[in-house]
């Protein structure tokens, strides 16, 4: 049992995507001038969301809209909305960061990371574990509620700028590009189904997706290493939070998924989602909603600690644990 898990973890470590992330991290750490142009990186991110959403929609079309989707969606919404409250309390009591930065950080951990999801599904695919297409919709649904929770936590203090920038803020929160593209592509996939997949198969999947993931992870490695080097406030407590929170919230997610009767693959992906932290959509929203929060705290935590941890250690770990719980 444990041996298989270790072997799987080892195999994960040697997947091209992980190795390219490591290459990027090394290059960034050594201050090489290697870098992916920012518009290219943005386009790769859009492509990954396009593909994940579309593939998910097509698969959901094939398996039919089931009550599973409702359950998974509901659970995802609940976790995304509730986790920030718990995270806030923990951050405040253990990490000694100001309340507004704690609220913003909590939003990051309630929300999700698209690339961690992508890496997780590739891992499952490589392990031959099946999962439902609708998990892509769950991914999209989990982007936003955490932001609302952070706004509630921040409460009246945050309302002052919020009031003046409300239209911008609500747009950013509810219509952030990532959520719109993920849900939109999911719906397109749902509508066009197999017929659509015939046309787009080699685009959204296979080697192109793998290659784009590798290139994007290369860039993430570079950026994460630089971020880590620049991080001004790297307290032990925040580092511990960035690693332990994913595990704890992941365990909660496993049990919830088990209770809700998720399949092995779905439960693993759901755990990965809950354990992952946002680093694109939520920071953008926080800059508008909670401008006094310190990006020098939440970005290094989410991007340079939690993300690599999940990518390298977390994914195989969660998979092994879920195997043990869900049976």
């Amino acid at each position: 049992m444990i041996e298989t898990a270790l072997a799987a973890a080892g195999a994960n470590l040697l997947a091209p995507a992980i190795l390219f992330f490591a290459l990027g991290a090394l290059a960034g750490w050594a201050k090489s001038d290697l870098n992916i142009p920012d518009q290219a990186a943005k386009t790769l991110a859009l492509y990954l969301m396009f593909s994940i959403g579309f593939k998910g929609g097509v698969e959901a079309n094939a398996s039919g809209f089931s009550s599973d989707l409702l359950a998974a969606g509901g659970l995802g919404l609940a976790f995304s909305f509730l986790a920030p409250f718990a995270a806030y309390v923990v951050l405040r009591s253990t990490c000694r960061i100001e309340w507004v930065t704690a609220a913003a950080t909590a939003a990051h951990y309630g929300s999700v990371s698209v690339v961690t999801f992508a890496a997780g599904s590739e891992y499952l695919r490589a392990m031959g574990v099946e999962f439902s297409g609708h998990m892509a919709a769950v991914l999209a649904l989990m982007e936003t509620p955490a932001i609302l929770a952070a706004l509630l936590i921040a409460g009246s203090n945050a309302r002052e700028p919020g009031a003046r920038f409300q239209p911008t803020l609500w747009r950013e929160v509810l219509l952030n590009g990532a959520a719109v593209l993920l849900i939109g592509s999911f719906i397109v996939g749902l509508i066009t189904g197999k017929r659509g997949m015939e046309r787009l198969d080699g685009f959204v999947g296979g080697a192109l997706f793998q290659g784009a993931l590798c290139l994007f992870l290369l860039d993430m490695g570079i950026v994460a290493a630089k971020r880590l080097a620049e991080a001004r406030t790297l307290r032990v407590a925040t580092v511990l939070f960035a690693v332990i929170w994913p595990i704890l919230s992941g365990i909660a997610a496993m049990f919830a998924a088990n209770l809700a009767g998720f399949s092995l693959g779905d439960a693993t992906l759901f755990t990965i989602l809950v354990a992952s932290a946002s680093y694109i959509a939520v920071p953008a929203a926080m800059r508008i909603a909670l401008p006094k929060a310190d990006a020098g705290v939440y970005l290094p935590m989410s991007l340079a600690m939690t993300f690599p941890f999940n990518l390298v250690v977390g994914i195989p770990l969660y998979h092994a644990a879920v195997q043990w719980i869900v049976r």
């Binding site: 920071p283 401008p291 990006a295 020098g296």
Partner: protein, 101 residues
């Protein structure tokens, strides 16, 4: 060349505020502006870098206009900067076709 004196504002803000600021400039009386995207920078709120992941660049809005418009914009911005990052500088410039500013 016949030139007249005007004010030039260099406004450094985060991109999410662009729409708001442009709308404000119009209300303040500016008849034009141009926006540029930065690649990196530093300030009281820390350093940033345009990366395509997790970070978006600050912008520079350049606008040329009369004293009154400039005064109004500064007032709005001074309020805005209480909440959000950014700075603005004002300088004296000469322009042709003064009626256009």
């Amino acid at each position: 060349m016949q030139v007249v004196d005007r004010k030039k504002l260099d406004i450094f803000i985060e991109s999410h505020a662009l729409e708001r600021v442009e709308e404000m400039l119009g209300r303040a009386g500016f008849k034009g502006w141009s926006v540029f995207e930065g690649v990196e920078g530093s300030g009281a709120h820390g350093a940033w870098r345009q990366t395509g992941i997790g970070e978006s660049g600050a912008c520079l809005v350049v606008t040329i206009g009369g004293d009154e418009a400039s005064e109004k914009a500064l007032e709005w911005l001074s309020d805005y900067f209480k909440t959000y990052p950014g700075v603005v500088s004002v300088s004296d410039v000469s322009v042709m076709r003064g009626e256009r500013f």
